[in-house]
Every structure is written in structure tokens, then in C-alpha cells.
């Protein structure tokens, strides 16, 4: 092993800056992903075939192709049709679009796991379909999807490392730059590992806590 404390200590403040970039990229992308994902999720259970099909195709295309490839197409491919995105913009669009597909599936599962009777009762009591979704189904679904959404954010923190291929100076890329500078692989990456864990561990704990609060028997969450 080639761990050198001096390099580790010199790298750490620089890595902190990279971790901050990772964090804000993930926060922005998850926020956009949540909003779009909610729409995708609702569209996936829509009565209207056109809407349902569109959402399904979107979900399958995003989930069926590697995020790395999507990022490369966004950054290197789009300029050939006249759209020249900055690296950070391409990164956020790629991560958000990806997140929307996965969050959409979480919401779909959440909506579908709210008991049928709830919907029937709401409709019978005179609420319209959209009102039923807005006031009866979604509030219950939200509670159920909170733990998987938290996990989705953890996934985002890790997946955002892929934008390092667009040379955005997030945590992984910052680590690689220090590797090149100090010609030492292990010491900077020890810091990178620690910082990823510092971000993800509290969140996985939070997800676990939420899971327990919602359903002590874990019956409902199991099929999300």
C-alpha cells in the first residue's frame, strides 16, 4: 500500500470542494427528478393510453440504456444537431432525466400499493378522478415512497460520479486530478471514499428510520 498521510491531508480540502459539487449536482438533479418523476409516475397509471404509453417508453428507454452513454450523447452528440451544452448543464439534464425515470417507477409502485378500496370509496363519494389522485391516493403514496426516495438520493450521489467523464470537477474527478498531480493513487482516493461515505451513510440511516416508522412489519414497503 502506498498511503501517504501528507498527500491525504493536502488533498482533503480540495476533495471537500469536489464533494460540495457532487452534493449540489445531486440535490439539483434529484429535485428536478422528483418533480418530473411524480408526473411520470402518475402518467404511468393514467387511464389515457397515449399518456401511459409515452411515460412507459420514456421509462424503458432511460432505464434500458447506461447513464454513461446518455451523458456522452448529451455532451458530445447533441452539438451535431446544433445544441451545445455546457458540461454542467449536460450533467444535470442527464442525471435529472435518469432520476425521473427511476422516481417515476417508485411513485407508480406507491400509487398502486394504496388499497383499491380507497380509490373506489373516493370516487363513490363524488370526488373526480384527479381529485381522488390529489387528495386521497398521493398523500398515502407519499408516505410509502419516502424511504425508497431517500435511497434514490443515495444512488444519485454515487451515480453523479459518472459526470466526471465530462470533466466536471466533482468528487471523483477531483480525486483523479490529485492522483495525476501527486502520482499517487491510494492517498487521494482514501479521501474520496471517506467523503462519499460521509454523504451516503446518514442518508441510508435516515431511509432505514423512515421505513421503520411507516411500517414496523415492513409489509407495505417490501413490494416497492
Amino acid at each position: 500500500m502506498d498511503f501517504q498521510l501528507a498527500i491525504f491531508l493536502e488533498a482533503f480540502p480540495l476533495l471537500l470542494r469536489g464533494a460540495w459539487v457532487t452534493l449540489y449536482l445531486s440535490l439539483i438533479s434529484t429535485s428536478i427528478g422528483m418533480i418530473l418523476g411524480l408526473l411520470v409516475g402518475v402518467a404511468r397509471v393514467s387511464r389515457l393510453r397515449g399518456i401511459r404509453a409515452t411515460a412507459t417508453v420514456y421509462t424503458e428507454v432511460i432505464r434500458g440504456t447506461p447513464l454513461l452513454m446518455q451523458l456522452i450523447v448529451l455532451y458530445y452528440g447533441l452539438p451535431s444537431v446544433g445544441i451545445n451544452l455546457e458540461a454542467v448543464a449536460a450533467g444535470i439534464i442527464g442525471l435529472s432525466a435518469n432520476s425521473a425515470a427511476y422516481v417515476g417507477e417508485i411513485f407508480r409502485a406507491g400509487i398502486q400499493s394504496v388499497g383499491r378500496g380507497q380509490r373506489e370509496a373516493a370516487l363513490a363519494s363524488g370526488l373526480r378522478r384527479l381529485q381522488t389522485m390529489r387528495y386521497i391516493i398521493l398523500p398515502q403514496a407519499f408516505r410509502l415512497v419516502l424511504p425508497p426516495l431517500t435511497n434514490e438520493f443515495v444512488t444519485m450521489l454515487k451515480d453523479s460520479s459518472l459526470v466526471s467523464t465530462l470533466a466536471i470537477a466533482e468528487l471523483l474527478r477531483t480525486g483523479r486530478e490529485i492522483v495525476a498531480w501527486k502520482v499517487n493513487v491510494f492517498s487521494p482516493f482514501a479521501g474520496v471514499t471517506l467523503l462519499y461515505l460521509a454523504m451516503t451513510l446518514p442518508l441510508t440511516q435516515l431511509a432505514r428510520h423512515l421505513e421503520r416508522r411507516i411500517d414496523p412489519d415492513r409489509r407495505l414497503v417490501a413490494h416497492l
Binding site: R17, Y76, P79, N84, L166
Partner: protein
């Protein structure tokens, strides 16, 4: 109605193409108008370019500054990944690249580039573990496992040797050195000055003295073919730097020779 929409779209497309064409005509004018020179570089290649405490520094960075100064514009030195760097230039992310790039016919052809006059003479060297005396010439690489950075002239030079057991391609050289020290590769082929600089940071490997693979390589600054007028400025800068002696000082500063 539909016809009119189609006509409208067609017109927009034409205007768009015309605008695109107009924007691309003449690199010098475009750069001066923008007020910035956009240079792309994989800043992981000391002493040509490296992020020192979070800031790009190196021979190429100084070079880029001189070019921006000659054009009278600000320098925007952007870090980009080596894998995809030529594609990024081609699609217009940058005006030029300064990234320790060897001039090759293949690169000119594949990416429609023109290169500046050579601004540095380099060559492919061989790095081995300190104390490992098995490799004394290029021919000794036969039957060995060799590490290179992907899509570099180092890779091309290793492929030309023939008889090498396996060529392992890495995103970055330090990863190749790590494998060298872990004895998963026997030698690393890379630009000799870079090997020298890297070996100063890590005393566990060293370049083999006097061994060069293939011909000396000329490093140049590529621009897109339609920006060929930028080359006049760049070549003038290179000539002036050499004449004034500033070039030698830059060399001494970064390569210590």
C-alpha cells in the same frame, strides 16, 4: 396550413444553418468577438498540465496564456477528459487544444484538424520499477505486459514494437504506475518528459535512460480546419517565444533543462 408550417420550419432551418455557417467563419474573428480563447486540456499530464492545488499549471498553460495575450483576449482554460478531447474540439466546445498532443496524420484525418508548428519535441520512453534491470531496450519489451494511457501515441508506439504479451490501456498514467508497482505490468510507455516528471514524485519507478520507442514526436496545437486562420497567430507566438528566449525559460521552469 400544414404547408405553411412546413415552409416556416424549412425557413428556420435555413436561417439556422446560415447562422451556424456565419459563426464558424474565421476563428480569429470569432475569438476576438467573444473576448475569450477557449482552450481544452486534460489537466492530468504534468509537467505539461496538472491541477496544482486546484489550479491548472504547466508548460501548456503558460503557452495558452501567451496565445491569449497575442489575441488580446481572456484565457478560458477548461479541464476536459482525454477520452473525447478531440471530439469535443470538433463539435466546437473549444477553440483549440493544448494537452501535450503529438502531431499525427491519423488525428488530422479523423477529426478534420490542422496543427500548429511543433512547439515541443518529445518521444516515447519506457518506465520500469526501480531495480528492475530486465528492460534495457525497446526489444526487451517482447513478452512483457506493458501499460499505456489510452489513445495516446504511447499506445501507438507500444503496438508497433511487436511481440508484447499484453498492452493494458489506462485512463490515466498514475493508474498504470500503480499497476507497475503492483507488478501487474512490467513497463509503462509514455512521453519521456512526463515519465521524468512523474518519477520525481514517486521514487519507486524510473524511466529507462536512452530508450526511445519509434521516432521523436512533435507536439502541436490542433484547431478545427475552418479555424485555420488561428494558426497564423499561434505559429507567430511560437516563433516569437523562441526568438525572445522566453521559450527556453518556460522549458527550464517546467522541465528543468
Amino acid at each position: 396550413m400544414q404547408k405553411r408550417i412546413a415552409c416556416g420550419l424549412g425557413l428556420m432551418l435555413l436561417v439556422g444553418l446560415a447562422l451556424a455557417g456565419w459563426v464558424e467563419a474565421g476563428g480569429v474573428e470569432r475569438v476576438k468577438k467573444a473576448g475569450v480563447l477557449k482552450v481544452g486540456s486534460d489537466v492530468t499530464y504534468p509537467p505539461f498540465e496538472v491541477m496544482q492545488a486546484g489550479k491548472p499549471a504547466g508548460f501548456d498553460v503558460d503557452m495558452a496564456q501567451e496565445i491569449a495575450k497575442a489575441l488580446g483576449v481572456k484565457l478560458e482554460y477548461t479541464n476536459t477528459a482525454w477520452d473525447g478531447i478531440f471530439a469535443a474540439l470538433k463539435v466546437g466546445k473549444f477553440d483549440m487544444l493544448l494537452s501535450g498532443i503529438s502531431i499525427t496524420e491519423e488525428r488530422k484525418k479523423s477529426y478534420d484538424l490542422v496543427f500548429s508548428d511543433p512547439y515541443f519535441l518529445s518521444g516515447q520512453g519506457v518506465g520500469v520499477r526501480v531495480g528492475d534491470t530486465r528492460i534495457k531496450s525497446a526489444a526487451d519489451l517482447r513478452g512483457k505486459v506493458v501499460g499505456v494511457q489510452i489513445n495516446t501515441t504511447g499506445q501507438a508506439a507500444a503496438e508497433k514494437v511487436g511481440g508484447i504479451k499484453e498492452i493494458k490501456k489506462y485512463e490515466q498514467l498514475p493508474e498504470a504506475y500503480a499497476d507497475l508497482k503492483a507488478k501487474r505490468v512490467d513497463a509503462v510507455v509514455a512521453d519521456y518528459p512526463v515519465l521524468v516528471a512523474n518519477a520525481k514524485e514517486d521514487k519507486k519507478f524510473a524511466p529507462v535512460k536512452g530508450v526511445q520507442l519509434g521516432e521523436p514526436e512533435k507536439l502541436g496545437i490542433p484547431v478545427r480546419k475552418e479555424d485555420a486562420d488561428l494558426m497564423t497567430v499561434v505559429n507567430q507566438v511560437i516563433a516569437d517565444l523562441k526568438k525572445s528566449g522566453r521559450y527556453d525559460r518556460m522549458r527550464k521552469k517546467w522541465f528543468g533543462e
